[in-house]
């Protein structure tokens, strides 16, 4: 009965409000993925502690409230949880209907960033809202791209029979716009995440293997060309070379990675204890509350804490992939796949960078790093996963 009700509403998604009438029935709540929710909340709580530890000394040294950033972080977290909840409970047909809006909004936001944005750490990625708040549209663009690519490939596949892969060029053309805008900032890290989302979504959409191989090849070629044609800024190149040869430059680009590894390595098995890390309290690791938040866990909580974070991320990814596997339609599966690709790639690059096995690209660690826009985007993405799960009434998409 509820299935038919959903079917009926499907044609008139607009004007019904975000929360569909059938959104909150008891059976839907019974399908709530508690493992996913618990993992996200645990990781977020962890993150808050680590952000606190990373910022209290720096703020105190600057004569500011030592808990200042923690309070902001908790505010961001609350807003993000609310946004995630709204997303989870939204009618997922509504989401599908809003996908084109999300795409346009994401491109518009990125364009606005280029025109009116502020440069922080070499990237023109922020729009200052005022009152000490700023927005990073490229984070929200990840959500936009996930939803819009899933819609493009899922909707058409659902609706009619198309030869597999024929819609990939259209998808690439559409994705090229936000990707290009992000590269213009330039924010190579986010661009790589977007590329990972595209590859993941295209792969799971059932497109022929040649497209996936082609995309991977194109990615590699772009990287080689970017280095050789000098498309990258010097500091970007430096980050990459210092990754390849960490001993070359211990003061400049190599400094951060070296300090990060000292922090993590000196943590040992059990860590030095929360708030006890000398590398952390001495502010030796730059950008520690954002890109290098994992070093706080490594130093103060040791292998135990670090593994716990990796394990929690693993749980989230595992639940995400399960939701994708059981999604009732291709759209839901592709949304979940896009979210998993995003989290997996970003987590691996972020933690890998602090461990010295990935180049420094300036990506935050999902749910853990300080940063409002990223927190909103991450929790909205979790909301998307839950949303798909909640609507997971029928048999899984074949």
């Amino acid at each position: 009965m509820s299935t038919s009700a959903v079917r009926l509403r499907r044609r008139y998604p607009f004007g019904r409000g975000i929360l569909g009438r059938g959104a909150l029935d008891r059976r839907a709540l019974g399908r709530w993925d508690w493992v996913l929710v618990a993992s996200v909340l645990a990781l977020a709580a962890f993150g808050a502690l680590l952000v606190w530890s990373a910022t209290r000394h720096r703020l105190a040294a600057a004569g500011l409230d030592p808990q200042g950033l923690l309070k902001r972080h908790l505010l961001n977290l609350s807003i993000g949880l609310a946004l995630g909840l709204v997303t989870a409970l939204a009618d997922h047909r509504t989401l599908r209907a809003y996908a084109p809006v999300a795409y346009v909004a994401c491109c518009g936001g990125l364009l606005a960033t280029l025109l009116f944005g502020t440069t922080i750490n070499g990237a023109h990625s922020w729009i200052v809202i005022g009152g000490g708040f700023q927005l990073q549209p490229s984070e929200l663009a990840k959500v936009g791209l996930v939803v819009s690519t899933a819609m493009l490939l899922g909707e058409r596949r659902d609706a009619e029979a198309v030869s597999p892969g024929s819609d990939v060029p259209l998808l690439l053309a559409l994705a090229a716009v936000p990707l290009g805008l992000v590269l213009l900032q330039p924010d190579v890290g986010t661009a790589m995440v977007l590329a990972a989302v595209i590859v993941g979504v295209v792969a799971v959409s059932g497109a022929p293997a040649r497209w996936i191989l082609g995309l991977l090849l194109a990615g590699a070629l772009t990287a080689v060309l970017a280095v050789h044609l000098g498309a990258l800024k010097d500091y970007q190149l430096e980050r990459f070379t210092s990754f390849a040869n960490p001993a070359a430059d211990t003061d400049g680009a190599g400094y951060a990675t070296r300090q990060a590894r000292i922090a993590i390595g000196s943590g040992g098995l059990l860590g030095k204890g929360l708030f006890q890390g000398g590398q952390t309290s001495g502010a030796f690791v730059p950008e520690q509350q954002t890109d290098f938040i994992f070093t706080v866990a490594g130093e103060e909580l040791g292998l135990l804490g670090g593994s716990l974070i990796i394990g929690l991320l693993g749980l989230i990814l595992w639940r995400g992939l399960s939701i994708a596997a059981r999604a009732p339609d291709l759209f839901g599966r592709l949304v979940a796949t896009g979210v998993v690709s995003w989290f997996a790639f970003q987590s691996f690059v972020n933690i890998g960078m602090t461990l010295g096995i990935m180049p420094v690209t300036g990506l935050p660690l999902p749910f853990v790093s300080y940063g409002g826009s990223a927190m909103f985007a991450n929790l909205i993405a979790v909301g998307l996963l839950l949303n798909i799960r909640l609507r997971n009434t029928g048999p899984p998409y074949p």
Partner: protein, 691 residues
């Protein structure tokens, strides 16, 4: 269509499985890397984290003072406002700091060029005063800056980048130039010394003793710097103290020196030189009385009660950077090289003071003490004639009279005959006993005394072996000189003679040696040590200046004990005989009688020996060196006093006068009380720690 969908669906589900494997492998990669960092190389990173975070601050220890035997400070510390310049900070200025130096020059009233020279590191061709310390440390340019200047520099740091004014401990010399040569001075540690293992723990800004007692007792005076290990953040801000060790103040060096005796010795020395300058030599020239030394020893222990050297200088010039003119004066020959200590670094012919050696050697060689020896006006040796002093003939006399009158011809005879018995020019193997040289060496001549001062001179005892060694060294030069047409004929002939048989130990050498002339050279301290051995009955002590080191807690951390170098190979009765003979020198008929005419001989008999050493024979040559070596009381010797005055004429005149003045002061004969009650040197250490 259905089939197509299912195919797509199959591949989609399959790829989700691939994704799961991919995600799992990524997470395992991270976990593995985390394991490798945190477990396998945890130790290295823990060390790196400490190196990052821990900074060691050095809290300099206060250097110990140098005290006289009564506890009176000879060197102590005081705090002074020192203006320093950092070369590294100056180098960062666009004009290499010229503008800063120009402003500083105006504030501290020092020419800019001089300021620049002072902070320039010393090296080849760099004019003095240059910076001899570490290039990393700040260079002190002005000590004792007025507070007004220090305030101006501190308040206008924007005008004076790299310039600092802060309180530092600097050396203070309450006695001014008193005992300057003995005390020595401090200088910034050199880069070379800093890298040596023996200087582990030294800082680039450290001052170290580079001369005198400051150098000799560097390790004991220095103390132990405190170390504070603090944790810092990335910006270098201190975030806490990890560990701390308090500095340990260096020990105070208590010396055998007695400030009052030292003052007496320096005054008597200056007075003796002035006295000598009023007299004229045989050629009618005024004595120049350029320089001299006085030494007072405790004959029974070798303790050094006073060491005076003239000319002297105020050691304050070494602190806070030395000016060009100061350094030039200290090393100028015209000013008599005030930096040189005549007492331990000057080598001079001892003249007749050496006869205590010749007399003892003669007795050892079989000449009876009571024998009668001729004292003619001259002694003929082949074609050459060796005159008695001032050509006077005294006729027959015993050894005692020969010493009292200082009859050269008697000693010529000893020297010549012993030389003949040794085999003359061609001794058989084992025939040359060289008793004179061996006796001299037993007294301590020809080798450092071992006094606790750096850079002591050896002196020289000429014997057959040393003469041959010298010839081996120089014959090439002489043989070349013999053929050098630019030399005068006489010089060429002299060179030719030396070239051919310069290795020969001739009769003339032996005869000159017997009266302390020729090639023999001694330092005043060697002579004093030898006289102390004679006076105390034959024990050669190592002269000692340092007596004890007293730690900051008042406990004695080091105590010197008298050190016996050797016993003289001379029997006690012979030493007694020589001593009693020397007691006659200050009495009527003795060579030093004039200076001791009104001396209370019955109360404090003084024994001594005069010496008048010829240095040059021609009109352009240097004037005679005046010596007097004495001990008192003659029958129970306690003190040895030696006076040496350069270009000051007869020993019986100026030097005997110097010794008399020292002794009368010590015994309280001139109104002031005696310095040592009952004429004994106290052995107790001073109490407390005067600062």
């Amino acid at each position: 269509m259905e089939a197509g969908r299912s195919r797509v669906g199959d591949s989609s589900a399959r790829r989700l499985v691939v994704a799961k494997v991919l995600v799992l492998s990524l997470l395992l990669t991270l976990g593995g890397r985390l394991w490798s960092l945190q477990v396998l190389s945890a130790g290295d990173f823990a060390q790196a984290a400490d190196d990052n975070r821990i900074r060691e601050l050095v809290i300099p220890a206060a250097r110990g003072g140098i005290l006289d035997s009564t506890g009176h400070p000879l060197v102590r510390n005081r705090t002074a406002l020192v203006v320093s310049v950092s070369n590294q900070a100056l180098a960062k200025q666009p004009d290499a700091g010229e503008a800063v130096l120009r402003r500083l020059s105006a504030v501290i009233a020092m020419p800019q060029a001089e300021l620049r020279r002072r902070i320039t590191a010393c090296g080849k061709g760099v004019p003095r005063p240059c910076w001899n310390g570490s290039p990393l440390g700040p260079v002190p340019v002005l000590e004792d800056a007025p507070p007004r200047v220090a305030l101006r520099i501190a308040e206008h740091q924007e005008d004076f980048p790299g310039v600092s004014a802060d309180f530092q401990a600097v050396r203070e010399y309450p006695g001014g130039s008193l005992a300057a040569h003995t005390l020595g001075y401090l200088a910034p540690i050199s880069t070379a010394a800093l890298s040596q293992h023996s200087h582990a723990g030294y800082q680039p800004t450290d001052l170290v003793g580079v001369a005198g007692l400051e150098k000799q007792y560097q390790a004991r005076l220095r103390g132990v710097d405190g170390r504070q290990r603090v944790s810092v953040d990335r910006a270098g801000r201190v975030t806490g103290t990890v560990s701390q060790s308090a500095p340990v103040t260096g020990g105070d060096l208590v010396t055998h020196l007695d400030r009052r005796v030292q003052v007496l010795a320096e005054h008597a020395l200056a007075d003796g030189l002035a006295f000598a300058r009023r007299d004229r030599d045989a050629l009618g020239r005024s004595y120049r009385g350029t320089s001299g030394a006085v030494i007072v020893l405790d004959a029974r222990t070798g303790g050094v009660l006073a060491v005076a050297s003239h000319p002297s200088y105020d050691p304050t010039v070494w602190t806070g950077g030395m000016s060009t003119t100061d350094y030039a004066r200290l090393t100028s020959t015209a000013a008599g090289v005030p930096l040189l200590s005549r007492a331990t670094q000057g080598e001079f012919a001892p003249g007749s003071t050496f006869k205590i050696v010749t007399a003892a050697a003669a007795v050892r060689g079989g000449y009876p003490r009571g024998g009668i020896y001729q004292c003619p006006a001259s002694y003929s040796l082949g074609g050459a004639r060796f005159d008695n002093f001032e050509g006077i003939a005294y006729g027959p006399m015993d050894l005692r009279a020969a010493l009292i009158k200082s009859c050269d011809t008697v000693f010529y005879q000893f020297g010549h005959e012993m030389w003949l018995r040794d085999g003359g020019l061609r001794p058989a193997r084992g025939q040359a006993k060289e008793l004179l040289a061996r006796t001299a060496q037993a007294y301590g001549f020809g080798q450092p005394t071992g006094v606790d001062l750096p850079a002591e001179a050896d002196g020289r005892i000429p014997d057959r072996a040393s003469k041959r060694a010298l010839w081996d060294l120089r014959k090439a030069d002489y043989c070349a000189g013999a053929k050098n047409p630019s030399f005068e004929a006489a010089r060429r002939q002299a060179d030719q003679e030396f070239c051919v048989d310069g290795f020969n130990y001739r009769a003339g050498d032996a005869v000159n040696f017997a009266i302390g002339q020729g090639d023999v050279l001694v330092t005043p301290l060697q002579l004093a040590t030898a006289y102390a051995a004679l006076a105390n009955g034959g024990t050669v002590y190592r002269p000692q200046i340092g007596k004890a080191v007293i730690g900051a807690d008042g406990r004695t951390t080091w105590r010197a004990t008298p050190e016996v170098v050797r016993r003289l190979p001379i029997d006690a009765s012979t030493l007694d005989y020589i001593r009693s003979a020397l007691a006659g020198v200050t009495r009527p008929g003795g060579t030093a009688h004039a200076a001791f005419a009104d001396w209370p001989h019955d109360r404090i008999p003084v024994a001594g020996k005069t010496g008048t050493a010829e240095v040059g024979l021609t009109k352009t040559g240097r004037q005679d060196t005046s010596w007097f070596a004495a001990f008192a009381p003659a029958h129970d010797p306690q003190f040895v006093v030696v006076s040496m005055l350069e270009e000051a004429g007869a020993g019986g005149a100026s030097s005997a006068r110097v010794v008399r003045r020292v002794l009368e002061g010590m015994y309280g004969l001139v109104g002031l009380p005696a310095i040592f009650p009952a004429g004994r040197v106290p052995t107790a250490l001073p109490r407390g720690r005067p600062r």
